[in-house]
């Protein structure tokens, strides 16, 4: 830690940079990337809470994302519910499904749980594809209304039709979520989750209600993924069954592992890095006329696990000589 630069200053500078960024770089595509990265930060962080801190291997996380997206989209398009409510509805409905998926986790672990979560995700994707009346099947839902404008006084109205305003909205959501994650992780709740991850029997012997904690963490993790999905629905204004695909989950996974599983900033680093990396790869793909992105994800995943188990954040922490990769 550089003693000459106090922590608060670093945070202030970072915040200022994030706020100023879209004003400086006005490229709409760049902003779109930032928004995409932000959504993945939410997804990766929520997955990290479940897998990194509680040790529950969930390979169906995209399902929560999709449920949140579809919930808010359907509420808005079919019932005319304002997206601002839809945002939280998406989170809560997703949380309910999280609770549902938590039940098998009480009896299963490791590969058995992993496969069950895949099954859960795939079944939901099939439902999204086939329940045409509700979801319009593979065509997906389009024409989803954007966030309704906020009125400040009689002269200022903030619209949410452009990338820039959505970016700021997402920034608020992501920051709030990260604050909540940080509090959860650094609290006795987080400690209880970690004890569950380390040794269930040992944790039970010190009074940790294993079932209760598992259900709680699944619910919370799903809530934030659903929130991200609902935001996405009103940003992209188009939702398709692809949001529930395994590919989406594997992307989230790779981001979290690369950034650092079980650390607070790991998912953030991983999400941002991989979002921009895949953009760079797109250029490469156009040049070389080959689809290499997923191959690189695969390689990254393998290399990270073999050589950089703590991810980038873990690597940085060990270089700095910290015992635990917490921040």
């Amino acid at each position: 830690m550089n003693p000459r630069v106090p922590i608060w200053l670093k945070w202030a500078l970072g915040a200022a940079a994030l706020i100023a960024l879209p004003l400086v770089v006005r490229d709409r595509y760049f902003l779109h990337l930032l928004v995409t990265a932000g959504i993945f930060v939410l997804l990766a962080s929520s997955w990290n809470l479940l897998a990194g801190y509680a040790g529950q291997l969930n390979l169906g996380h995209a399902a929560f994302y999709g449920i949140g997206a579809y919930t808010s989209a359907i509420l808005a398009t079919k019932l005319g519910i304002t997206p601002w409510l839809g945002l939280f509805a998406g989170g809560f409905v997703s949380a309910l499904f999280g609770l549902m998926l938590g039940v098998p986790s009480l009896r299963l672990s490791g590969p058995y749980l992993a496969i069950t979560t895949i099954g859960f995700s795939e079944i939901l994707r099939l439902v999204a594809m086939n329940w045409v009346q509700l979801t319009r099947g593979s065509l997906g839902l389009y024409g989803i209304p954007p966030f309704t404008p906020i009125r400040l006084g009689s002269w200022l109205e903030i619209q949410f039709r452009s990338e820039i305003s959505c970016y700021y909205l997402l920034l608020v959501l992501v920051c709030a979520s990260l604050v909540i994650f940080r509090r959860l992780i650094r609290s006795e709740f987080g400690l209880s989750l970690e004890s569950l991850r380390e040794d269930e029997i040992g944790a039970a012997s010190i009074g940790v209600n294993i079932s209760g904690y598992k259900l709680a963490v699944f619910t919370i993790s799903a809530f934030f993924a659903g929130l991200a999905g609902a935001f996405f629905a009103h940003y992209q204004r188009l939702v398709s069954p692809d949001t529930l695909s395994l590919g989406e989950t594997f992307t989230i996974l790779t981001m979290t592992m690369l950034g650092g599983l079980g650390t607070l900033l790991g998912p953030v680093v991983g999400a941002v890095l991989l979002t921009f990396l895949s953009e760079g790869l797109r250029f490469l793909e156009d040049m070389v006329k080959l689809d290499v992105r997923m191959i690189i994800y695969g390689v990254l995943l393998i290399v990270t696990i073999l050589f950089m188990r703590g991810g980038i954040v873990g690597l940085l922490n060990s270089l700095r000589g910290t015992g635990r990769a917490k921040d």
């Binding site: 650094r186 709740f189 010190i206 009074g207 209760g212 709680a216």
Partner: protein, 260 residues
Amino acid sequence: MKLLRTENLTRYFGGLCAVNDVDFELVSGEIVGLIGPNGAGKTTLINLLSGVFPPSSGNIIFQDDDISRLKAHQVNSLGIARTFQVVRVFKKLTVLDNVLAAAVDRRRLGPWSLVAQAILGRSWSQAARDHDEADRLLEFVGLASYSDELAENLPYALSKRLEIARALATSPTLLLLDEPSSGLNPSELNDQIEIVRKINRQGVTILIIEHVMKVIMDISQRLIVLHYGKKIAEGSPREVYQDPEVVEAYLGGETHVEYR
């Protein structure tokens, strides 16, 4: 005051009877040793008492409550803590965190209470109190200087002490120790005995499984002997030592089936 008693406590694993109709009592404040040849069902008994699995039949009464079918975390909330034969500390957590995790008042605060507490913020005084409690316990077992060390980096003997500190952090009335001195060398053994005595002096009742005769004879006020799941003797160390059935169980007789 009778702290714990079991009535016809039995546990089957498939066709194998690991604990067979065991009746015994624990009086508040005593140190009782649980001995018997390998595979006699001692650890199974501890598992039953601590709620790891339920009995096949019979009852466990703790302070007038029937705890026979309670789950492990519920049993702990009522005041029974335990250690494990093969140490099960939280490897990737620090020594301090291991104890802090146990110090949480889980009788009052379930998962969602802790979630609310985490998001809304906890009082500084409570956090400080828990921290002090954890520090005190680490001091008590002599691990204070290892506070920030990862539990997996501890040498074996110290990790056994960590498990004890962790169990104590749950404020138990009854502590079940499963072979706390296995794997320890003679000097570590003496330290361990001292710690157990200290704990008992603070008012915690102790049931200790031990193989090392020196330890068990030294420490226990009373012994219970299991063999093939049945209680075959009970009494003072002297009495038990001279009981012919006990002698035969340990030294003579046919080869017995290995459980684990």
